[in-house]
Symmetry: none
Subunit: 248 residues, 2 copies
DNA sequence: CGCCAACCTGTGAATTCCCTGAGAAACGCC
DNA sequence: GGCGTTTCTCAGGGAATTCACAGGTTGGCG
């Protein structure tokens, strides 16, 4: 429709300014990673390394969403949460928590519409969850659709349903995340490194050819028999586009 | 008739503004938890930590419903109730009380249209009770339906009656709450963590596989022999949808 | 045309995730 | 207090998923 270069639906605040996200974690490498990913989404990002800083930043920055590590040096995440809520009663929070420590401490975290992801997470997952939170919180100007569409291919982020030409397609969790990443960047070449960084968790230590493998899986399910939508740019990466656009 | 994408019916006041709820409890973590859950319902929430604060808040905030802990630091819940009634004669009240201390005086109060839940409660339960109170009090714009329907499955929040294809189904209390939560979010994947936070009481410290277990129970009763409505999204969670929608 | 790098995909093993039976404990009702 | 019901733990089994490996295929380039 409009310029093909950016089909990314921006999440905007009512006044048209970009969404603001506060990231709170004491591990600098992690806040760094997240900042880059979220800024790339077109969001404004501020970071804090501890609870006190988080509260200060919340007051000054007034974010639309917060990413909060449950384990902080100065206070427990739930304490921080309480103080944050005093500043920002309605802001949705995405908690980061260690996989094994899913103890009773976490009970209630997702209860109010908040959400959490366990470390190690994939950036795609974090971004998707954040988008969901912001979408549902009403901070976004318009409640954006939860359905991504490229050509006759659709992917519903709420129901996790994927269809091509109206026909339902079953994907595994990893396949789903990979396809979501591709579809959120249609007509854009994504390198294997980008995909690996984005779809696999940040501590993935395996072979880089898992990407090839999963692209192969996806093709079998998405493109099977039909005109292909997933294309290889040899030496560069992969991209997805509608079959009609491909014909052009 | 197929289920729409978002069946969450907003409870609104006659003038179209969101319903207002006052939460009174001296335990900050509890008011915190409740606030999150109620705001997520789309309601406006104010909190107070003691009886005096409650009366002040009632005067200023003029809520449509009150959640009131019976045990408060400065005065007994029934005393607070009296003062509240002077401010808000018709407002329905949901009492919070310890399990063992269900004084019959409180039990008697429910005759007047009020209601109570015992600690520890589940958020699903509190929200449902509140919805019921508000619905019946007439504060809501229109008397909203108390029946949830997904496909040929119906669940009456008032009578607790559940039917599939016209046939009545007996559920236990937990099964009922789980099904209600699913049905209030049709076609949306709910993670085990979300379900646990919402359907089980906030102090539940047990194994996360109770969710799997109860899903199994529900399937036996809801889906037995018929085309299944409860679906597993491996690695993501569960969702409910009408059998016809599933066939698509 | 031949070679190499990049990519594709079949096979299979390890792992994770989920389901469910059996029974213990808690509850509620007479 | 006794009995049926409900909730929950535990553990085994089974199936889906993830991933490594390796051999085959393709495309670009000299």
């Amino acid at each position: 429709m409009t310029t093909s270069s950016d089909t990314r639906t921006e999440l905007l605040r009512p006044d048209g300014s970009p969404v603001r996200v506060l990231v709170v974690d004491d591990e600098a490498s992690l806040t760094e990673l997240m900042s880059m990913a979220l800024r790339y989404e077109g969001w404004e990002v501020r970071t804090a390394a501890d609870g006190a800083g988080a509260v200060r930043a919340a007051r000054a920055f007034r974010p639309d969403a917060v990413v909060l590590d449950v384990m902080l040096p100065d206070m427990h995440g739930l304490t921080v949460l309480g103080r944050l809520r005093r500043e920002l009663p309605d802001v949705p929070v995405l908690f980061l928590t260690a996989k094994d420590a899913v103890e009773d401490r976490i009970a209630g975290l997702t209860a109010g519409g908040d959400d959490y992801v366990t470390k190690p997470f994939s950036l795609e997952e974090v971004v998707a969850r954040l988008r969901g939170l912001i979408r549902r919180s009403g901070a976004a100007a318009r409640r954006t659709e939860s359905v991504l569409a490229v050509g006759d291919l659709t992917l519903d982020e709420d129901s996790h349903e994927v269809t091509r030409g109206g026909q339902s397609i079953h994907l595994t969790a990893t396949e789903f995340e990979l396809l979501r990443y591709l579809m959120r960047n249609p007509r854009r070449v994504l390198s294997k490194a980008q995909i690996l960084d984005r779809v696999w968790s940040y501590d993935f230590g395996g072979q880089a050819n898992v990407v090839e493998l999963y692209i192969s899986y996806l093709r079998r399910k998405i493109d099977a028999g039909r005109s292909p939508m997933i294309h290889t740019r040899r030496g560069a990466g992969y991209l997805i586009k509608s079959a009609e656009a491909a014909a052009a």
